[in-house]
Symmetry: C2
Subunit: 106 residues, 2 copies
């Protein structure tokens, strides 16, 4: 499940999943890192390398977009409509995996 651009395949990696989830409210990169750590209670942490490379990819795929920010030095982003759509589809995909696992354990 990691050949062929996972975004074009309509699947989100964990990193993209959490960045999209965090950007349901607009914020800049550094805040995303802190937000993901907080909302997963420290279970998931995204470092700067993963963050900024993934942001670039998500912008290119038009799943997030830069929004004009008041402070000049911070780059602020927000999830797009197609980003929301894909995020919701991916939540369903992940729920189905759980349901499949539960079904196997009768």
């Amino acid at each position: 499940m990691a050949r062929k651009d996972s975004l074009k395949a309509g699947e989100l990696t964990d990193t993209s999943f959490f960045i999209l989830l965090s950007l349901t409210e607009s914020k800049h990169g550094y805040l995303i890192m802190q937000d993901v750590e907080k909302m997963t209670e420290g279970a998931v942490s995204i470092g700067p390398a993963s963050l900024y490379t993934t942001i670039k990819k998500l912008v290119a795929a038009e799943l997030i977009e830069p929004v004009p920010s008041i402070e000049g030095n911070k780059k602020t982003y927000l999830i797009t409509e197609s980003g929301k759509k894909l995020l919701n589809e991916d939540i369903i995909r992940r729920e189905q995996i759980i349901r499949t696992a539960e079904r196997v354990f009768e």
Copy 2:
């Protein structure tokens, strides 16, 4: 989330997850491919390249083990106790991700 051997990090990739799930009942490689396709209703299919390379890795990590089979040419495997433990932990990890997502959407 893909540097450093994910098994040692205690996380299962989707491929490893479904193979372990299928091997809660012993079966040989080819049957695993068909079983995963069936239990996910075609949503997930693991090809031979992914299957046999992952089996090798899971055996090395002692999460599955070969079991003596009656038929000589088929190699049969079964999940181990530590495999069951890790699989259960990963189900919980995946459930937590879903719950985090649901919490964000109040």
